[in-house]
């Protein structure tokens, strides 16, 4: 729930309670009942002492270090966790499981880089050149090589098979790619929403009412 990554906590808890940032039409639904319930539940976990003591300030790196040192039992972490723990000089036996859910269908938070072409009124020839580039890049063999080199999770089935085959521990991560949702970063209000939900979490940690805070944020963003 930190200034840098608190939107991830919001995403995990709301998505896995059937809520989220937007509805199927792409409209903001920050103060939905599912969101209010999810954030109240998350704050309840903190207040009951089930989590790290200072979620507004502990970064994921603090938590990953503590997890690697065997000091905490469970973390939500990205697929770089095994490397991070090994680089930190720690040795800990752990397993990977999907995010707990209240809806029967676990959702992970995906972060992706995008190839983008601006709509500049390209000619047929130019559009064909763009297609050729993408076909070349996403060629199964070439893309699999690229994915293995970068260490990211793949966006194609062939890439997923290559990653799972190359490293047994990555297979569990590849399995969850299909259940990932992504932040609505293409919407113009995203920067304000991101900081807004973090502010809601932090103020809720200080004792303010979650519904009132989310109502205010929704009114501020969606008008």
């Amino acid at each position: 729930m930190t200034t840098d990554e608190g939107q991830a906590a919001f995403a995990y808890y709301t998505w896995n309670n059937g809520g989220g940032f937007v509805d199927e039409n792409g409209d903001w639904t920050l103060n939905s009942d599912a969101n209010v319930e999810a954030i109240e539940y998350a704050i309840g976990l903190v207040n009951a002492g089930y989590t790290n003591s200072d979620p507004a300030n502990n970064t994921r790196y603090d938590l990953q270090d503590m997890f690697g040192a065997g000091q905490i039992a469970m973390v939500i972490a990205p697929n770089s966790l095994p490397t991070y723990i090994a680089d930190g000089g720690h040795e800990v036996n752990f397993g990977v499981a999907s995010i707990p859910t209240n809806t029967g269908e676990s959702v992970s938070a995906g972060v992706m880089d995008r190839f983008m072409c601006f709509d500049n009124g390209y000619s047929e020839e130019e559009l064909a050149a763009i297609s050729t580039f993408f076909d070349y890049f996403y060629d199964d063999e070439r893309y699999s090589e690229w994915v293995l080199m970068e260490g990211f999770l793949p966006a194609t089935i062939a890439g997923g098979e290559a990653v799972a085959a190359s490293d047994e521990s990555m297979a569990a991560w590849v399995d969850i790619v299909g259940s990932s949702k992504f932040y609505p970063t293409a919407k113009a209000e995203w920067a304000d929403v991101k900081q807004g939900v973090i502010d809601v979490e932090q103020r809720a940690l200080l004792g303010e009412d979650v519904r009132t805070l989310l109502d205010e944020l929704q009114a501020d963003i969606a008008g």
Partner: protein, 296 residues
């Protein structure tokens, strides 16, 4: 003859030209740009879209967070400058006395100053952490506590720790400013005062303080500016969290500019801070220099 006269008259200005050019490029132009941005409508990408009048200032001042952040900034500046000046002054008096190991003691006082602020703040954040901090570990090993203590249970205590780190890193500067002033005081003043029967406090208030006042004025004005604008300590320890409770104007404006893309509002906050600093520093300097003239 006339040409020579003109050259002679222009001489000083030619020598001043490089400094003036540097000041214009690196000081005046950025200040002008900040003022211009604060009065402009700026897109999320940082492109100036036109004149916005005082819109950015109105938005900033109307926000409920601004009052809280301004209060934090004033508390932060007054507490850090005030206490570091008091402690630094006392330390300078101690270090001005002859004693064994004085050189080593002076070198040790410089350490916090010589270390990067980010490192200092990072180390203190590590010391006070409830879960793995060294303060808890040390106290547990000494048998003083039996379980981890939460040293930062509220935003207020977090802010108090940040103030302490600010004081800790500011003390050396004050100490050395005052020490340089103390070393320029002729020992005969104290000898005469001692002969006249003056005690420690009388010598302190009637000799030491008046004679180191100019050094203290310099260190205080510079500290007000440095501390008011200080970013690394708060950013490293809390990033202004939770919910802006430990933000000062500088960390707040950084978030507005680089987390929310509100460059115009960030520039407005910067201008407000600049004006507050100008007023505070000027008032302090005028008051202290006027008093100095009266004393003289």
């Amino acid at each position: 003859m006339k040409k020579k006269k003109i050259l002679r008259a222009a001489g000083p200005y030619i020598w001043l030209l490089p400094s003036i050019l540097l000041m214009t490029v690196f000081i005046l132009f950025p200040i002008f740009e900040v003022f211009r941005t604060s009065l402009s409508e700026v897109s999320k990408a940082g492109i100036i879209k036109g004149f916005a009048g005082l819109d950015n200032f109105t938005k900033v001042v109307k926000s409920s967070t601004f009052g809280l952040v301004l209060k934090n900034t004033l508390v932060w500046t007054i507490v850090v400058v005030g206490l570091s000046t008091l402690i630094g002054f006392a330390l300078a008096i101690v270090l001005n006395n002859e004693f064994r190991g004085r050189k080593i003691a002076r070198a040790i006082v410089v350490f916090p100053w010589a270390t990067s602020l980010i490192i200092q703040a990072g180390v203190w954040k590590f010391i006070i952490n409830q879960d793995y901090g060294t303060l808890n570990t040390l106290l547990m090993k000494l048998g003083i506590i039996s379980g981890n203590v939460n040293w930062t249970p509220t935003p207020g205590t977090y802010f108090a720790w940040e103030c302490w780190v600010g004081i800790f890193v500011t003390i050396p500067f004050v100490t050395f400013c005052v020490l340089s002033g103390l070393q320029s005081i002729d020992a005969s003043y104290y000898e005469s005062a001692t002969v006249d029967g003056a005690g420690f406090w009388q010598k302190l208030f009637n000799i030491t303080l008046p004679l180191v006042k100019s050094s203290l004025t310099v260190s205080t004005v510079l500290n007000i500016i440095y501390v008011f604008n200080s970013f690394p300590i708060i950013w490293t320890i809390t990033k202004g969290d939770p919910a802006n409770r430990t933000d000062t104007l500088v960390t707040y404006l950084y978030k507005q500019a680089f987390y929310k893309g509100r460059t115009g509002e960030a520039a407005a906050i910067s201008v407000i801070g600049f004006l507050i600093l100008c007023v505070c520093a000027s008032v302090y300097m005028i008051l202290s220099l006027r008093k100095e003239d009266q004393d003289a």
